[in-house]
């Protein structure tokens, strides 16, 4: 009975790893995208509002 439990644990660890990695990948994606879009908005708005 020990083997199925270990396999289950390994599967659970793997799923936790995958979920953590997916969250991390989404985090870096949105950090980069937000940074770039915010930068572009600033670089477009500032000259448009310059006197």
């Amino acid at each position: 009975m020990a083997i199925p439990v270990e396999e289950g644990d390994q599967m659970s660890d793997q799923q936790d790893d995958d979920a953590g990695s997916t969250r991390g990948m989404r985090a870096v994606f949105w950090v980069w995208m937000s940074l770039i879009v915010a930068g572009l908005v600033v670089m477009i708005v500032v000259p448009l509002t310059a006197r």
Binding site: D17, G20, S21, G24, M25, A27, V28, V31, W32, L35, I36, G39, L40, V42, M43, I44, V46, P47, L48, A50
Partner: protein, 225 residues
């Protein structure tokens, strides 16, 4: 946290050096501007005034647009053009957008495929080109930013010299705009071309940008394993 740094190390490292370089650029740019102001007997700019000025932002934007153009063109060109032996290229004969089977779209989508691919239809078509579309949009936006900031700076200089102001359209057809644009483009095209060609015969052990050290020169990326 350790696992996050291990898994996302490449993007985090480049984020850190990007921010450091941008901050460095702002201080160096302020120092250069204030040197020039001192020569003309004018008071120095404050840091915040400088980083929110069009003269700083146009310098940032003109480099951004050329980088996004570089990747936009590289992504588009590598659909249809190949370079035998380069790890940056598909192998000769694989030109084109690929079949649904190789691209895992349509009936070949898998349970783990992105949601927009499994949905099919227009969503799958848009997602199939999303990298190129985003890079293109970022290029156009940053080029627009460069033109707007450049026009403001040009008009500040015109005012200092008693010259009449330029419209945005006059500025984007001016030598200054195209000088700023093309000096960035040429360096990007040079770097991409050099990377494509040098990676045929040169290697960096352990880098995903290189073929394995012992791979034959004539093999492209997908053949190297």
């Amino acid at each position: 946290m350790r696992r996050f740094i291990r898994d996302q190390g490449l993007s985090v490292a480049f984020l850190v050096i990007f921010v450091a370089a941008l901050v460095g650029q702002s201080f160096a740019g302020l120092a250069a501007t204030n040197e020039e102001l001192a020569v003309h007997g004018l008071p120095p700019d404050a840091y915040w005034d400088f980083v929110s000025s069009s003269s700083f932002l146009v310098d940032v934007a003109e480099n951004w647009q050329s980088e996004f153009l570089q990747f936009f063109l590289f992504i588009a060109a590598t659909i249809w053009l190949v370079q035998r032996g380069s790890p940056e290229s598909k192998r000769p004969g694989d030109e084109g957008v690929g079949s649904d089977e190789t691209q895992l779209v349509g009936d070949h989508a898998r349970p783990g495929s992105p949601a927009w691919v499994r949905r099919g239809g227009w969503a799958s078509t848009v997602y199939s080109n999303s990298l190129l579309l985003v890079m293109g949009a970022l290029f156009v936006s940053s080029w627009l930013a460069q033109s707007l900031g450049g026009a403001v700076v040009a008009n500040e200089e015109n005012a200092e010299h008693g010259a009449p102001p330029e419209t945005w359209l006059q500025y984007v057809t001016s030598p200054d705009f195209w000088n700023r644009t093309l000096q960035n483009w040429q360096s990007e095209f040079l770097a991409v071309g050099a990377m494509i060609v040098f990676s045929i015969f040169l290697r960096q052990r352990g880098s995903s940008e290189s073929k394995p050290v012992g791979a034959p020169h004539g093999r492209s990326a997908e053949e190297s394993a």
